[in-house]
Each structure stands twice: as C-alpha cells, then as structure tokens.
C-alpha cells in the first residue's frame, strides 16, 4: 500500500511516497494530492521509499505533472531506485519526467 506524506515548504510542496505505487496507490496519491495545487504549483516528489511502480503510478505522476504544467507550475521527482528507474525506462517515459538524484537538484529545477 502507498503512503503519502505532504509537507508544505516555503516555495514548494514536498510529497513523500513510500510503499507500492500501483493502481491502488495511484488512487491514494490522486485523492491525497487533489487540492494541493491551491497551496503551490511547484511540487517535489520524493520516491526514495517507494519500492514498486506500475503504469498506473506513472500515469498518476504524469497527470499531476501535466496539470501543474498547464497552470505554469512544475514537478520534479527524486530518489528513484534502480529497480523503479528500469520500469520508467521500459514505459518509455523517462525523459518526460524531471528526474534528479537529490532534493537539492529538484529544488533547483523548480
């Protein structure tokens, strides 16, 4: 099951995900982040503790990213393990995400 922790920072929102980001997790993610754009249109997603990802999780992230971009916002993702990176590569979406290794680089991207 996916756990979503939301922290409001000075100029962005940090979304920390842990556990399984599958279709079940995608519903949890979308539900818990639904109103966040009102707080900030700049999101950083920490995937360090996410240990599984399916296309439903990728789709949920891309939809959030797309929605933010439409409103001149941005999303950056960091902390993706080797296993999850392989899945993102297979899905062909690697270059669509703004993926960086650390939170410092994520902050610079926003």
């Amino acid at each position: 099951m996916l756990n979503v922790r939301i922290t409001h920072k000075h100029n962005y929102i940090l979304i920390t995900l842990s556990g399984r980001f599958d279709a079940y997790g995608a519903g949890i993610f979308t539900g818990q982040t639904a109103d966040l754009e009102e707080g900030s249109k700049f999101w950083i997603v920490d995937m360090t503790e996410a240990d599984y990802l399916s296309s439903a999780g990728i789709k949920a992230l891309l939809e959030a990213d797309k929605s933010l971009q439409m409103k001149k916002g941005k999303m950056a993702v960091y902390g993706i393990s080797e296993n999850l990176m392989r899945i993102i590569q297979i899905s062909g979406t690697k270059n669509i995400f703004k993926i960086v290794p650390t939170i410092d680089e994520a902050v610079k991207l926003l």
């Binding site: 079940y24 296309s55 439903a56 899945i87």
Partner: protein, 171 residues
Amino acid sequence: MNNLAAIQPGPPPEIIRSAQVTLQICAMTQNLEIAGDFVRTAAKTAGFDEAGARLIELALDEIVSNAIMHGYSVNCPGKIVIKAAVFDEGLIITTQESGKDFNPFSVEDPRLDVPLTERKIGGLGIYIVKQIMDEIYFEMREDKLKIFSMIKRLNSNTGVSDAECQNNSQA
C-alpha cells in the same frame, strides 16, 4: 529499437507444464499486491532471478489492473483467475475474467514523442507488457470469458537490454 511482442489471437500453443498454481482474486486494486507476490514466487520457482521476477510481476499487474479498472465497476467487482505454470523454458501466466469487453488489439502504443501537455496519457500498461513478455495471446470466448496468456522464457532479454534505447524528446 525496442523488441515489442505483438498480441496474437487465440490460445497459446500446447506446452507441457511441469507445475501450475492458481490464484483467484476479487477484482479490486487492493489485491494487486497479493497477485504480484503470487506470480513473483512462481517466476522464481521457474528459475528467474529477482530482477526478472519483478518484471514478470509488473506485466501481470498491468493486465490485472486493466481488467479491474476498465472491466469492472467499483461497486460490483467480479473475480479474476490467475494461473502461473512452470515449463522447461520459463513461465506461462494466464488471466481469466468476465468483465466488460476489452479489445487489446485496438490499444495503440503511446506517442512518447509528443510533449506531455499536448497528449492523452494512456496505453502505457499494454506497452509495458509487450516489452517484458516474449509471447502474448488473447482470446475472448462466447461466454465473455477473456483470457490473456503470456510467456516469458528464461533465455530472453526482452524488457532489459533494449530499455536504454528509448530516445524520447523532452516535454
């Protein structure tokens, strides 16, 4: 270029199976984890390593997620039967369900070269399955039973070596 397996009509060819295990789940996304654990264990029994077993788990997840999200309504979930069979060259996974009609042959591969803001996000699941599995078969019986059969061979590199070759433009 990526090595995409095409979805073929009909049942898979007859293969002598040395062992087969069956799992039946209620069509709810909460059950994806138990389905994943089930098939990952079967994949390891068939001789796949952890990384290979994880990819096979992902392929099954995509098929089962599709059936749950598109085939059944939330209030009235049906059941999905998953079979994992070991044969001398690898693993065969079969899923059976009777949800809403779905035609996997009509699912187009996603346009990954179009900027994110200009495209619909979809078709990723079947695309992932085509990249991971070596052979995919789909049949719909007259009683609406829909059966996916997928074969992964121990000597295949699909979904691993070619993944790096993706060259998508930045959104």
